[in-house]
Amino acid sequence: MRVHPRYTQKAALALLGGATLLTVAVLVFIIFFVLEKGLPVLSLSFLFTNPQDMGRAGGILPTLIGTVALPVLALAIATPLGVGTAVYLTEYTRESGLTKVIRFGTDCLAGIPSIIFGLFGFIFFVTVLRLGWSILSGGLTLAFMVLPTIIRTSEEAIKAVPASYREVSFSLGATRWQTVRKVILPNALPGIVTGVMLGIGRSIGETAAVIFTAGSSLRMPHSVFDSVRTMSVHFYILAREGISNQNAYGTAAALIIAVLAVNLTAYWLMNRFIARRS
């Protein structure tokens, strides 16, 4: 029996609309749930004072530092490496067996569970290189974790730059590197920024790999060689050990607001960049 297109049309609309609604509802529910429990705890003094009694009282200042330091270090390492790899793969080599192997490798790397990265970071950075549980070990581990994301999003962004721009640039006497610098990277920037944002998001929220490599010290770090606890790890420990559910949710709320702020800032910067160029 054939169903009239009018009804299939309605059914498709309902299903697709429903899927969208469900997605948004889950997101809104999670955010409200966390904010409702966490916002009452949040205050300037909660953010900017040291914790006391394992986090039962006091604030979360050292974890705030850790949450900023680890992603900043990770992205400072991963962005040049990742964008460089993407430029090499797209602009400096022709599609070949080797590029396929490299691409397959990065895809596999992206699928490796974070705890395996944590284990690798623990064995290699913490023990073999004797960096100990430190911001440096954690940042390096996170850098390798977000590297595949940055490579693949940058690659897609670079491929999306029209081939005619390259032709024009070469025809005007530009070298390949000049073309990359003046035409390709500026036009691929919004896509590259998206990849970096995904990387920040992933490294801010990471818990398993961070416990293994940066440790969970609640003391204020003084250099990149000190151990640090991030907000995600703090939340995990507070909740898991039953230290303080209230402060756990306060930390979670701060974390969610931080992620939102990072994303909004990135969108704002990107829109400004695009508006200036067109």
Partner: protein
């Protein structure tokens, strides 16, 4: 008169298929050479051989000799970046880079290290030569993407002129343009030929008849006939040339 460019037995293959077959011709200095012929007759391949653009895509091989002022431009030690500044190119579709009008024009000169007030002089000079200055002089800092199609193509011409080339290659530059924009480009070319050697590939035989001093007819990768435009259009030596220009095929 010494030929600006001369091709000897030029053959270009793409993935084993011949696109250009044994072309030998001399291009005169300070003249416009029109190249006509039906689709896939090798016109564009020939044009792109002159500034070595073919090699940017994989799969191209070539044989034969291409001389610019008597020098082999495919010699291993020939500087291809310098070549492309001497032999500028305007593409079929106008492709302004997504930056301001000013920055488009000075893209090439900036790469060669030209800075400061020299750039502004170049912008005015090049835009005037492309018959675009009066239309854009008050908005040089706005995006080139906001120009109309005809203005964009004249901007592309100005951008090529700013390189200070000796040869200008135009690949069907008017194929997407209205008659008025086309007339402006043709007007510019007529003036420019006193300073440059111009090669104009066109799908429009009437355009070749209007602006070219010499015309070459390509068919299936071969050069069929090459001579003064007047002669080629009024008394073609080859039957196929006559058939093409009278519109019997193509």
């Amino acid at each position: 008169m010494e030929a600006k460019i001369s091709a000897h037995d030029l053959t270009v293959n793409h993935q084993g298929l011949p696109l250009l077959d044994d072309v030998t011709m001399d291009l005169p200095t300070n003249r416009i050479l029109g190249i006509i012929g039906p689709a896939s007759s090798g016109k564009t391949t020939f044009l792109r051989a002159l500034n070595r653009m073919n090699e940017l895509q994989p799969g191209f091989t070539m044989a034969g000799l291409l001389l610019l002022d008597g020098q082999d431009i495919y010699a291993p030690d020939f500087d291809v970046v310098a070549l492309r500044k001497r032999v500028g190119m305007v593409f079929a579709l106008p492709v302004p880079l997504p930056m301001s009008i000013h920055d488009n024009v000075v893209y090439g000169p900036r790469l060669s290290g030209v800075r400061g007030g020299r750039l502004d002089e170049l912008v005015e000079k090049s835009l005037r030569a492309a018959f675009l200055w009066e239309e854009v002089k008050d908005r040089l800092q706005t995006s080139a993407l906001r120009l109309s199609g005809g203005q964009q193509q004249r901007l592309c011409l100005a951008r090529t002129l700013a390189l200070g080339p000796e040869v200008i290659l135009l690949d069907e530059p008017c194929s997407g343009l209205d008659p008025i924009s086309t007339a402006k480009i043709e007007e510019a070319l007529a003036v420019l030929k006193s300073d440059y050697t111009i090669v104009l590939v066109t799908n429009n035989t009437k355009q070749a008849a209007r602006v070219a001093d010499e015309t070459a007819f390509f068919l299936q990768g071969r050069l069929v006939e090459h001579g003064p435009t007047q002669t080629l259009f009024t008394a073609p030596r080859d039957q196929r040339t006559g058939d093409y220009i009278t519109g019997r095929f193509g």
